[in-house]
């Protein structure tokens, strides 16, 4: 009986352990600009995903001409977090800025047997009329074959979704 309980517990924990150890999300993903919503104020975007237990680090490496920027949002699928420097891939020709000194509440969860990462954020923003909050809903979806990643992003304020397709460029570390 004890062996059965042990076996059952192992089977339940196996997906999480397997995800942490060998998540197909992990690695570097390069934006396919031709097949994605147009970036604005950026020319290139490489996404690096690292999974460590319930934490998922989403590192955004951006380029604008000769300028390079790297920013990481570490979300937690086990609990909500407040990120002080939440990075949003902005449309940079709009006068919308991160609100100074404000943290962003972020919630994340695995869906679809670990093939979709859902990230929800209430992003404090500065606009010309003062401050407001944008609800940001993102789904990072593994495409069959695990060589493509689809990011669908919805803003509470935007009438069109932003759809980004990434191609894997390296295996996980």
């Amino acid at each position: 009986m004890r062996h059965l309980r042990f076996l059952l517990a192992s089977l339940l924990l196996l997906p999480l352990v397997a995800l942490a150890a060998t998540s197909p999300f992990e690695g570097r993903w390069k934006l396919d600009r031709e097949r994605s919503t147009a970036l604005d104020g950026w020319h290139e975007w490489t996404l690096e995903v690292r999974v460590n237990g319930s934490q998922v680090a989403l590192q955004h490496d951006m380029k604008w001409g000769k300028t390079e920027l790297s920013a990481t949002n570490t979300v937690d699928t086990a609990k909500a977090v407040a990120l002080p420097d939440f990075f949003r891939v902005e449309q940079r020709h709009m006068a919308i800025y991160p609100a100074k000194g404000k943290s962003t509440p972020v919630r994340a969860a695995w869906l679809d047997a670990g093939r979709t990462l859902r990230v929800e954020a209430d992003v404090p923003l500065e606009i010309s009329q003062g401050e407001t909050v944008m609800r940001l809903y993102s789904e990072y979806r593994l495409v069959e074959g695990d060589r493509e990643l689809l990011l669908i992003e919805l803003h509470s304020s935007r009438p069109r979704p932003l759809v980004y397709r990434f191609t894997k460029i390296t295996a996980e570390k």
């Binding site: 919308i96 010309s128 407001t132």
Partner: protein, 545 residues
């Protein structure tokens, strides 16, 4: 019998030219340029002809150049037609360099040879051209100019081989700077390497300017030091003509540097025909009248809706003005105010061809392109006095400001310090208001009835139109308080027709209004915050201190 004296008088009257009381018709020559500016092919002949133009136009407007429709400056053909129609200039075409030299070689005293393998030597040659009245040639063009009786004045081939630009220009400064004008300087940069476009060189030659393309990038320490020396020796309020050298430094670096000396920038390096244009005034009786939609002291009341206003601030000679659709939407056009001094016919042409929906505003930042956060405090009042005078001539009631010193291209930090904002309010008591930015910006204020608003959106011409509409709708959704004042900067290569389509896709009650109406409405209901540059915000370029 009539006396002989009477008969002589009658005879004289009969021989008197018709229209004696009228001004004699002007004559001139013109040439068509193609689009080949490669150093290995089309550039050398063009450099020769542009230098010849500068000399031929020294005391009279004799030679004008028409560029192809896809040249960056789109107005050369319309302005050519304007000179014929409004100024009565009768032009003769010159089809080749040989014909041009036949007509104008007498304007030159010789030639100077530049070395195509040493890019900076062309600029040194242009400097010599202005000082010594010589044309510039490569070795391959020597037979052509000698055929027209010109003799060698100087040969730069071999002089600068293997030297850096800092070394070359140091030598040129030592040899020639003292004899050049100190009212202006020619930053003949822009295109570098295999292609050069020194179309503004005629102007620099005519005015005896020192030509260079020194770098304002701190990594080029020697070039920067030499440039600082030149700037410090220019007279107060002088103009830096031309443009920064692509790939050596940035527009932001160079404009920051010259602004810190209280100097003005007037570009671009390829702006043609100033040696011709400067010799025409406005036509008799002409007076600038803007399409004002409100009186200076008018009071309007904003309704609970979204107000949009479109502005194009790149020089109107290179942009949307000649593209389809102008006139379908209210549009503000920032005028290069210094053209009142050296290209007034172009301004009159724009005025003449304006539709009721076209409105002219002053800028950028002052009497020339400058970054006001860096203008020395003691230079600011006199510069802005000059700006006010030009705005009065041009009947302009709105000043556009731009300071990209801390920006990263057309994104990033473009805000004005509070001190700068204070200075503008003090210097321009009679404007309707101010607008600020190039990309989006967030400097805003309202003092008495004069608002200062920044662009909430910049339209990149490459951005898909459906995303532009989505961007604008997102701004409208986020800025939910009504009225919302959405100021939009239109990059010069957009076209108005596409903007008409975008406006149709906007959500909710929206109204596109002219900028003077926009600012009056913004003064009536302040739904925007007061804000200045935050010292904590990152700066892409931190300056020279």
């Amino acid at each position: 019998m009539r006396s002989p004296l009477f008969l002589l008088l009658v005879l004289s009257l009969g021989l008197m030219p018709l229209g004696h009381a009228a001004t004699a018709a002007r004559t001139g020559a013109f040439m068509h340029f193609d689009g080949d500016w490669r150093v290995a092919s089309g550039l050398p002949e063009k450099a020769l002809l542009i230098s010849l133009q500068g000399l031929a136009n020294r005391t009279a407007p004799q030679l004008y150049i028409i560029h192809p429709p896809d040249f960056q400056w789109e107005i050369t053909a319309p302005l050519f037609e304007f000179y014929q129609r409004k100024h009565g200039v009768q032009f003769t075409e010159l089809k080749t360099a040989d014909e041009a030299l036949t007509r104008f070689a007498a304007s030159a005293k010789g030639y100077v040879i530049w070395d195509p393998a040493v890019g900076a030597s062309l600029n040194v040659a242009f400097t010599i051209a202005g000082l010594e009245d010589v044309v510039v040639v490569t070795p391959a063009l020597v037979p052509l100019v000698e055929k027209h009786g010109l003799k060698k004045h100087e040969d730069l081939t071999g002089r600068y081989t293997g030297q850096t630009d800092a070394q070359i220009y140091t030598d040129a400064v030592n040899r020639y700077w003292a004899r050049c004008t100190h009212d202006a300087i020619m930053l003949m940069g822009g295109h570098r390497g295999a292609v050069r476009q020194p179309a503004m060189a005629d102007w620099g030659i005519r005015q005896k300017m020192f030509f260079h393309d020194l770098s304002a990038n701190p990594v080029h320490a020697e070039e920067l030091a030499l440039e600082k020396r030149l700037f410090s020796e220019l007279k107060p309020g002088s103009i830096v003509f031309g443009w920064h050298a692509y790939g050596k430094d940035t527009e932001e670096q160079h404009t920051t540097l010259l602004s810190s000396y209280g100097l003005k920038m007037e570009g671009l390096h390829n702006l043609p025909n100033l040696s011709f244009n400067c010799q025409f005034t406005f036509t008799p009786g002409f007076k600038f009248t803007n399409n004002h939609h409100v009186a200076l002291d008018a009071k309007l009341t904003a309704e609970p809706k979204v107000y949009l206003s479109f502005v194009q601030s790149d020089s109107i000679g290179i942009g949307v003005w000649t593209k389809p659709g102008r006139g379908k939407l209210p549009f503000a056009w920032q005028v290069t105010m210094n053209w009142t001094k050296f290209s007034p016919a172009a301004l009159e042409y724009f005025h003449e061809s304006a539709t009721p929906n076209d409105y002219f505003i002053g800028g950028l930042s002052g009497p020339g392109y400058m970054y006001p956060n860096h203008i020395p405090a003691d230079r600011f009042p006199l510069l802005m006095k000059e700006a006010r005078e030009m705005m009065a001539t041009l009947d302009e009631h709105v000043m556009e400001i731009m300071d990209n010193s801390a920006a990263d291209g057309n994104v990033g930090n473009t805000d004005l310090t509070k001190e700068t904002v204070d200075r503008y309010y003090a210097a321009f008591p009679d404007v309707i208001g101010f607008i600020n930015g190039y990309g989006p910006s967030r400097t805003r204020d309202l003092r008495d009835t004069r608002p200062m608003l920044s662009y909430d959106y910049y339209i990149d011409p490459r951005r898909p139109r459906e995303e532009v509409a989505a961007d604008l709708n997102e701004l409208i959704a986020l800025n939910a308080t009504r009225p919302y004042f959405l100021l939009v900067h239109v990059r010069e290569s957009n076209d108005v027709n596409s903007l008409v389509e975008i406006v149709k896709q906007l959500s909710g009650p929206t109204e596109v209004v002219p900028i003077d109406v926009f600012l009056k409405l913004a003064a009536s209901k302040k739904t925007y915050t007061t804000r200045y540059q935050d010292p904590d915000e990152p700066k892409h370029f931190k300056g020279y201190k």
